[in-house]
Structure formats: C-alpha cells, structure tokens
Amino acid sequence: MRKQILAVGLPIVLVAVSLLHLTTGQAKISPADVVDAVLHYDPTIYQHVVIVLQRITRLVVALYCGAALAVSGLLLQKVMQNILVSPSTLGISSGASTFAVLAILLFDMSGGALFWPALVGGLVAVGLAFFTASLLGPMDGSKLNLVLAGSMMSILFSSMTAFIISLDPAAFDNLLSWLVGTIGNFDYLDLPLMVPLGLLSIVGAFILSRAIDLLLLGDEQAAVLGANVKLVYGATLGIAVILAVSAVVVVGPIGFVGLVVPHIAKILFGETGRLPLWGCLFIGPIVLVTADIGARTLAAPQMLNVGTIMGLIGGAAFLLIIMLGVKRAAL
C-alpha cells in the first residue's frame, strides 16, 4: 500500500499541483496553453513567454527547494534523533542568511555565488551549536542540548542579519522579502550552480540511508552493527547543510518545510529505509508548490511571500501532528 501511494499517488498529486501552479496567476492561462507553450514555444505569444520564462522557472525553484529542505530536515531529525529538529531550528538557515547578507554588503556578491558564503554560514552555525551543546554537558539520547543550542544560534544569527541590514537598509531593500522566504527573486540562470550539488547530496542521502537508520538504535549499538558512527554523522550533517543552504540561497530561510514534511513522510512511509526519503522528495515539492500557489492567489492581486504562507500552514500542521502523536501515544 505504501509503495502504491509513493509510486502512483504522490506523482499524480505533484503533476496536478504543478499544472495548477503553471496555470494560476495574474494572467489566467489554460492547461492546454501550458502544454502548447512547453511543446511549441513561440516567443511572440504572451502566454508562452509567461509560462516558459516566469512560471516554469518559479515552479522549478519551488520543486527543487521543497525537495532539498524536506530531505535536509529528515536527515537532521534522524541523526539528531529528535523530532523538533529542522534546518531552521538548528540555526543552519539563519547562519546561511547572515553570511549571504554579509557577502552582499562586503563583496557585492549576488545570485548563485552567494551559495559559498551561505554554506560557510550554515556550517559555522552548526559548528557553534555543537560547541555550545558540548559546554552544556554530555549529549543524551535525544540530543536535546544540541536542539537548544541550535535554537540559540538561530536567534543569534537572525539578530546579526538584522544588524547588518540596519547598517545600510537601502542596499538590502529588494532582499527583505527573501529574508521572509520568497520564490521569484532568484535568477533561474544561477540555479544550475547549485542543483548538481544538491542532486549529488540527495544521491548521497540514499546511499547513506541504511547507515543513518542504524543511528536510531544509539551510537554504541550502531557501531557494533558495523557503522562508522562519526563518519555517518559527519557525512549526513554535511549533506543536510548543503541541501538546506542551496535552498536558502534561492528562496530564503523558509521555515516548516524541513520540519513538517519529514513528519508526514514518516507517518506515510515509516521510520526507516529509503521510502521516507522518496516521500520527502515528492511531498516537499508538493507542499512548497501549493504554498506558492497560495502566496499568489490568497490576496490577489497582492502577492504574499511564500515564507509567510508556509509559516501559517506549517505552524498549524506541526501542531496538528504533535497533537495526533500525543493522542496516538495515549491510546
């Protein structure tokens, strides 16, 4: 049943929301025109230009970032053995944002080139979170100290970003929506710089998935069963940071995708194996594409930030998941 949902149900839903995404917007465009624009592109037809140059770009960005954030969140939740962990709660997104903003201010960098300073920022944030957690005491099974330290880093780096922006607000005027989380600011020509790295990381996650599952049994039992625990931790964290940062550079620090989607995937496809990873690859894009449809239609003609929509829907969904979990545990 699970495999049927994955192989048939989710691809159908993904194609449906993608088509809806392409046809929805200020200019109403029929599905037939969408297909026509893709198959017989004619730059003299207005609808074709809108579809190919704007909406497909936007769709591709939403598809990639949804998948990257969801897989990143799933990996983090598994290695930290804590259901509250996500790229946002560990400070990765905030660290990446701070270093990206710093690179804009100091080196006038833009587009895909921001990936590298953002990656350094993400790694610095995680490194500081680990360092702080080690000061708080030995890591327990739930890595709770690390979650608290990560939340602290998230607040610290968000404040640093606000401080940097306040130094020269005019220079960052068009970046404010990115800091909330938006799809559309990014020049799609820069996406190919990151997508190959992101795809390699996703392949790496699939290769490591069996070893990552062992960590769920505790570090010592995982080691005795044959896992090189430190290597698996390091590689998984590295992959999760790369995926999260590659998404943050494009759409900003959108919250909840990396927190809620892994939970949905685990409910549908179980805790272990590669199925929840496949689930995140479909559900992450479905959620972000749907949120983007909401961002463009809910207050039309006003355009909302997708980060705002995700915050509202994701926060409610997360509460629901927690309440259902508590109810299930009580039964």
Binding site: D213, G218, G226
Partner: protein
C-alpha cells in the same frame, strides 16, 4: 554459521580520563564456551565487553579476536566477528520488529544492495530462535520490555557473528524471559560461538555458564568453573556480603546470611 573464534584479553587496561577502570586483565574465552563475567557495580564488567566490541581503545594491552587485534579491524570487519547486545537499548517506537531485526544484517550488505536471500534467511532464523515471528509486523512502541529484549537479541543473532557479547541481558525481564535468553545464549555457545555475558545473578551464572570470571576493582579476581570460583569466600571478598552455599541440582546457590531466620 560464522567461523569459530577465541577472544583473548591480554594485559588489558583502560581508564576513563584519569580514573582507572580495568587493570591488566588477561583471560581467554574459547569458541564454544559460555563465559559469564560477574562482579560488583563499577568493577569494569561492561567496559570489558565494550573493549572487546572495539567501542573503546585500550590504554594498554590488547584484545584479540582469533589472532587479530580488535584495533586492527574496521567497524564492518569487527561486526562480522563480534555482536554485542548493549545494556540500554533504544529503538524508534514506530519501527517495525522486522526492520529492527533486519538491522542486524547491516555489516553483510553493501550500501546500495537490497536484502539478499541469505539476509532474509538469517532474519527468519533469528526470529524463530527468539520466538518473535508473530511480532514481525508489530511496532516497537507496542512491545513489552521482555518482547523488545527478545527482538533485540534476535537482531544480535541475525548479525551471525562468531562472538556474542551480552551486557546484562536479563535485566528488567520476567523470569521466563530471563531463562529464555540465557538458554538461547548457551545454545549459541553449543553451536560453536564464543559467548561472553555480564551477569548479576550468581545462580544464573552457575546454571548457564561454562566458566565464570569474577571482576573486582578493575582486576580479574578469579576465573574458572562456577563451583570453583563462586565460593562464599569470594562472595565475601568481592561483594562484601556474607553468604551460605546450598547445593541443588548440581549447582551452588548463594543465599545471604542475614536472611537466615
């Protein structure tokens, strides 16, 4: 069945920071033998098992699996040789029993391969051995403590290693499951495996172990057949408890003097 392998501890010492835990322990557990380690809390029993499993590096001395020092083996190579049922085992509540037991096969699989027929056969064999077939699709969160311990033992058996280490395997279990696990451990020894178990209960050690090693303050106090080692003198010296011995069914049972009415 994995090949038969002796485990040799040679002048083994270990410290946690500056606190010495084990001092110059030398002993050999032979293939086909069930060796029980007993001793008071904090005497280094569990640490010794973790050194055999390669989880810690010795401060001095060495552990040999066959002729190979443990420190010379990769984690995967070691997992082929040594399985350890850890004391405080956790598993995600939503994981199925079959997936949990399947994790015992990790060292036998490549990162991209699926479970082989051999993997499936070993998992089925381990489930049968621990009598948990009926639980295969249950989630870990639905199991009792005893059921979970049997499933974890099945995972350890599925690893199909030549050395089986059990760290207080009967703690928190009902009597029925305590003896069930120990019987299975003895059965594994009879099949040629080297079984080393940390036990708290002398009676269990006397009933199931071929030999008993008594640890005291990080040192090997004595090693030999249960009757030779588990004497009232040893119990007094090591545990600081006065006991009287009762012979029953060919084994010696120790009862506390203060319990005499």
């Amino acid at each position: 069945m994995a090949s038969k392998t002796d485990v040799r501890l040679s002048q083994l010492s270990f410290s946690y920071g500056r606190t010495p835990v084990l001092s110059e322990i030398s002993l050999t557990a032979s293939a086909g033998e069930f060796l029980a380690i007993v001793g008071p809390n904090g005497c280094g029993k569990s640490t010794a098992l973790k050194l055999v499993a390669g989880l810690y590096r010795p401060a001095s001395g060495a552990v040999y699996i066959g002729d190979t020092p443990v420190t010379g083996l990769s984690r995967k190579q070691l997992a082929h040789q040594v399985a350890l049922l850890t004391q405080a085992g956790t598993a995600p509540v939503n994981m199925t029993v079959r997936d949990l037991i399947g994790m015992g096969r990790f060292a036998h699989q490549s990162l991209l391969s699926r479970r082989s027929r051999e993997d499936e056969a070993k998992i089925a064999e381990a489930m049968f051995a621990m009598d948990v077939q009926s639980l295969h699709d249950r989630r870990v969160g639905e199991l009792s403590g005893g059921q979970l311990q049997r499933c974890r033992m099945a995972m350890t058996l599925a690893q199909d290693s030549s050395v089986l280490l059990l760290d207080e395997p009967t703690t928190y279990l009902d009597l029925k499951y305590q003896y069930g696990i120990l019987e299975k451990a003895r059965d594994q020894a009879r099949r040629g495996k080297t079984v080393i178990a940390v036990l708290h209960d002398f009676t269990q050690a006397a009933l199931y172990a071929d030999r008993v090693a008594v640890f005291h303050q990080g040192r090997l106090h004595g090693i030999g057949k249960p009757d030779e080692v588990l004497t009232t003198e040893t119990v007094r010296e090591v545990f600081d408890v006065a006991t009287f011995a009762v012979q029953s069914h060919g084994i010696t049972i120790h009862l506390p003097e203060q319990a005499r009415v």
